[in-house]
């Protein structure tokens, strides 16, 4: 089946199918919340909420929903079946998260400029640490779920 969406989808058939389901679910959730929002706005005008905030919140909802479903489904690390592979992936997640936090810090510095006071550096370090923690936790939970799912399949294999 040809679709422009294919370039964003995994090559593995099972993964592709699951991701399509997650995206479809998030679209339905988005539609439902949009209708609820419109209904609420019609009967109780909420003029103080800017359109930009609404669009950002709804887009964020779709992204977060899809990421959480993907993470919990245990399909991301589909080739990690033993402790050695698991430990290797944990190390990789730590380094990938550091890399992401460093790239974020550089982009942050390019946009905001070099901080002149020590508080600016503290803010940057704190933010980078938060980004690192978030990236690490998201990937670690995904790995945990994948490893659990793979271990179940592995246990069934031992007969």
């Amino acid at each position: 089946m040809k679709s422009w969406l294919s370039i964003f989808l995994p090559n593995d058939e099972y993964k592709e199918k699951r991701v399509l389901y997650f995206l479809a679910e998030s679209a339905v959730v988005l539609l439902a919340i949009s209708f609820i929002f419109l209904a609420v706005k019609r009967f109780h005008p909420i003029n103080q909420i800017h359109d930009e905030i609404v669009v950002a919140a709804l887009s964020g909802l779709v992204i977060i929903y899809t990421i959480i479903r993907y993470m919990v489904s245990g399909i991301e690390y589909s080739n990690v079946f033993n402790k050695t592979g698991y430990k290797k992936e944990v190390r990789s997640i730590v380094f990938q998260s550091i890399k992401f936090a460093v790239i974020f810090s550089v982009i942050y510095l390019l946009i905001t400029g070099i901080p002149k006071a020590i508080e600016g550096w503290v803010d940057l370090l704190g933010l980078s640490f938060l980004i690192w923690t978030f990236m690490f936790l998201v990937n670690y939970f995904s790995l945990k779920h994948s490893f659990k799912k793979n271990s179940e399949l592995e246990e069934d294999n031992k007969w």
Partner: protein, 66 residues
């Protein structure tokens, strides 16, 4: 869906990893197919049958229960 992929793979002395690499899917997908927790597309069924030197009938056709 019940199938005989696991038996055919073991008969051919192949690991899940080897089969998954040959047909370009993840090992998890092979595990799920063997366990009957995922129904593969016809295209993937054909790839599995070719890799294991079996026919679709031999791997995926359900025999009648008497």
């Amino acid at each position: 869906m019940n199938n005989k992929v696991k038996v055919a793979r073991i008969e051919k002395n192949m690991t899940q990893e080897e089969l998954s690499k040959q047909i370009k899917v993840t090992r998890q997908t092979i595990g799920l197919i063997e366990k009957g927790r995922y129904n593969p597309s016809l295209q993937l069924c054909i790839s599995i049958a070719k890799a294991l030197d079996k026919t679709l009938n031999e791997l995926f056709w359900e025999e009648e229960q008497h």
